[in-house]
């Protein structure tokens, strides 16, 4: 592998394919996804609605619906998540890997009080007594700035920003090593958005945990993450250190995303995200791309290293930068031993 860091790897995703059988055809939500998250790292996953980023987040914890088909390997601290039993999986969820699902307003049980939903986690996983668990729940609420007197209230009495914070408490309750946060700031006012992000980053750093931040908000990703992957139509098109990806994007889609913001001149790219059932031939972005080459519609580019640790899936950039290393991203030289044992999993 081309990436060599001193810090150890916590999670690595290798050639992950996720597809859904639907009445209209096979939806290929994730294709050949490979990336890794190191300990203490905040990793950003950027993409638009329907590009498969939420599917990826749920796939990591095997929370997909019954019609999903997962192939590849998800290795968490040496264990392949896809070959674990349901019981082993349960001991991983919440304790080792916490997840903040998208849209906190529908992620809480409407008939249970907020406090009891937090306390429940401690009672279930740590065998705490009811009183202790409730005390702990109050402490956690105070930690994210919610008055603990409100713990007996119900989810619908909380505002969007507050629920988002409770969601955070729930995901971080058992101090997981990895937090998956799916659009934690969607639909919030800018100032509340910043507060939420500050709190998340503080809590994650405090426990030296890692985080996978899934978002469509470039601002958020730039401010928070160490490394970033950009997803388009089910695949990763660019991956690298956030600073270099933002300052010198190698993929025209990343460039477009960055410059589509009003303060950056509101660059207008025509067309819309392709269907995941019939993706375009060749490079998936080519119908919308302004740097299109003749080959773009025929050849499906691979994710190649352009600069140190900065990979992109683009023929144009390949042609125009001299020092492209012909090394593809994160594909093991020899088939890893785990592959055969896993194969395909119907979730």
């Amino acid at each position: 592998m081309s990436i060599s860091f001193l810090s150890t790897q916590l999670l690595s995703v290798e050639n992950l394919n996720v597809s859904f059988k639907t009445s209209k055809g096979l939806v290929k939500a994730n294709e050949n996804i490979s990336f890794e998250i190191k300990e203490g790292e905040i990793f950003g996953l950027i993409g638009e609605t329907g590009c498969g980023k939420t599917t990826l987040g749920k796939a990591l914890l095997r929370l997909l619906s019954n019609n999903a088909r997962i192939e590849g390997r998800i290795v968490y601290r040496g264990k392949n998540i896809l070959s674990l039993s349901e019981k082993e999986m349960r001991s991983l969820r919440g304790k080792e890997i916490g997840i903040m699902l998208q849209d906190s307003s529908i992620c809480f049980n409407p008939v249970l009080s907020v406090g009891s939903q937090i306390a429940e986690i401690y009672r279930y996983h740590e065998g705490m007594k009811k009183k202790d668990a409730e005390k702990k729940a109050s402490e956690m609420l105070e930690l994210v700035g919610i008055d603990s007197s409100r713990k007996s209230e119900y989810p619908h009495q909380f505002s969007g920003g507050m629920l988002q914070r409770v969601m955070m408490v729930v995901a971080l309750a058992l101090k997981p090593r990895l937090l998956i946060a799916d659009e934690p700031t969607k639909g919030l006012d800018p100032d509340i958005k910043l507060q939420i992000l500050e709190i998340i980053a503080k809590l994650v750093k405090k426990e030296n945990s890692s985080m996978l931040l899934i978002t469509h908000d470039l601002d958020v990703s730039t401010k928070l993450t160490d490394r970033t992957a950009v997803m388009y139509a089910g695949e990763i098109v660019e991956i690298g250190k956030t600073a270099t990806v933002i300052s010198d994007p190698k993929h025209p889609y990343t460039f477009a995303l960055l410059h589509s913001l009003p303060e950056k001149g509101l660059m207008n790219v025509s067309g819309q995200s392709p269907s995941l059932i019939f993706p375009p031939s060749g490079c998936r972005y080519h119908p919308r791309c302004s740097n299109q080459l003749v080959d773009c519609s025929k050849i499906h580019p691979t994710l190649l290293e352009h600069v140190d640790d900065h990979f992109a899936r683009c023929l144009f950039s390949e042609k125009n930068s001299k020092n492209v290393k012909r090394e593809p991203h994160l594909i093991p030289d020899t088939p890893s031993p785990g592959c055969a044992e896993v194969g395909i999993r119907h979730c």
Binding site: L63, C107, N109, V111, Y124, V144, Y154, Q157, V170
Partner: protein, 337 residues
């Protein structure tokens, strides 16, 4: 002046963005109770005037009962005067209402028994049958509903669906007769009619229970399956809970909300007397009393029964409302932006 940057805006983080008003449970109950009273007032109007509009002259009926077939006009008129039937209608209504407020429902035209006393005499039997029937139906429906909601085994699910379909399609009286044939005539286990002991109760309660359980089971299944698709169920799984906790703690309470409503409506309906079942099994309940008095044209008895049933129905729906509010906190709140 520049608009302050987002980072500079500091406001108390726990500030609530919306104004949400909490109605206390007592206030909620008081609200509902007030509505029940309005409904009952409406019912008194309807039950009084419905009888007034019904064909047949009450004075003539009473006179018939008192003096036999050979009536002359003066006898009818004297009855009319004696019973206050010559007064204007609204006046009669208020007198009737006045009596009602003193818990006086009048006397039966036919038997001269006190109507209220007669009803209260029949009430225990009806309550007994209702509670037993409802219990049996829930005991059958809930396990079947939950099982078939989670059944990956299509055969079992289909069996449940088949059972429910049969339960819905078979009319009460036919099911009752089948049960009598099986358990009394063939097996001689339970008596086919009568009142007094547990074995008398078994067949009518079973008839009611089975026929009600089919719909309740389907409702439980549908509602549970819907709830299991909700995002908070996924969120509960993501917290590492086992299926047992997910279903029992997170899904079932939500899934039972529509079932409670349905069972509550059934309760109100049954308290009014399961007319057919009571008739088949000669069960001395309110339903049978009502039917008998209708056939006997016992105006005041019918009036009393209808009123009593309506009140029971309103009260049971009040009970459902309260139970609903206990189960679902969202009902108790009034939200505005």
């Amino acid at each position: 002046m520049e608009y302050p940057k987002a980072s500079e805006v500091k406001r108390p983080i726990s500030e609530n963005d919306r104004n949400i008003r909490r109605i206390s449970m007592w206030k909620y109950i008081a609200n509902r109770l007030a509505m029940v009273l309005i409904v009952i007032a409406g019912v008194t109007l309807v039950s009084f005037f419905a009888m007034y509009l019904a064909p047949g002259d009450p004075a003539e009926l009473i006179a018939l009962e008192r003096y036999g077939q050979d009536l002359d006009k003066s006898q009818i008129e004297s009855v009319r005067e004696a019973e206050g039937l010559d007064a204007p209608v609204y006046f009669q209504y208020f007198i009737w209402l006045d009596h009602l407020l003193h818990l006086d429902l009048g006397r039966s035209i036919i038997t001269s028994d006190d109507v209220l006393e007669e009803i209260l005499l029949k009430l225990p039997a009806t309550i007994e049958l209702t509670v037993a029937g409802l219990l049996i139906s829930l005991l059958i429906a809930l396990p079947i509903g939950v099982l078939s909601a989670f059944q990956k085994n299509i055969l079992l699910d289909n069996c449940c669906a088949f059972f429910s379909l049969i339960g819905i399609s078979i009319p009460n009286f036919w099911l009752g007769i089948l049960l009598i044939w099986l358990f009394s005539l063939t097996l001689h286990i339970f008596p086919s009619y009568g009142y007094g002991s547990l074995s008398h109760l078994t067949l009518p309660a079973l008839t009611l229970g089975i026929s009600m359980s089919s719909i309740t089971a389907r409702l439980t299944r549908a509602s549970l399956m819907e709830v299991m698709e909700k995002e908070y169920i996924l969120a509960a799984r993501a917290r590492g809970f086992d299926e047992y906790t997910v279903v029992l703690r997170h899904a079932l309470k939500n899934a039972l909300l529509p079932v409670v409503t349905f069972a509550g409506m059934q309760l109100g309906y049954l308290l009014g007397g399961a007319v057919i079942v009571e008739t088949i099994f000669s069960w001395p309940g309110i339903g049978k009393l009502l039917v008998d008095s209708i056939f006997a044209r016992d105006f005041s008895m019918v009036q009393g029964c209808v009123l009593f049933i309506a009140v029971l129905f309103s009260l049971s729906s009040l009970a459902v409302d309260i139970l609903y509010a206990v189960l679902d906190p969202r009902i108790r709140y009034d939200m505005y932006d």
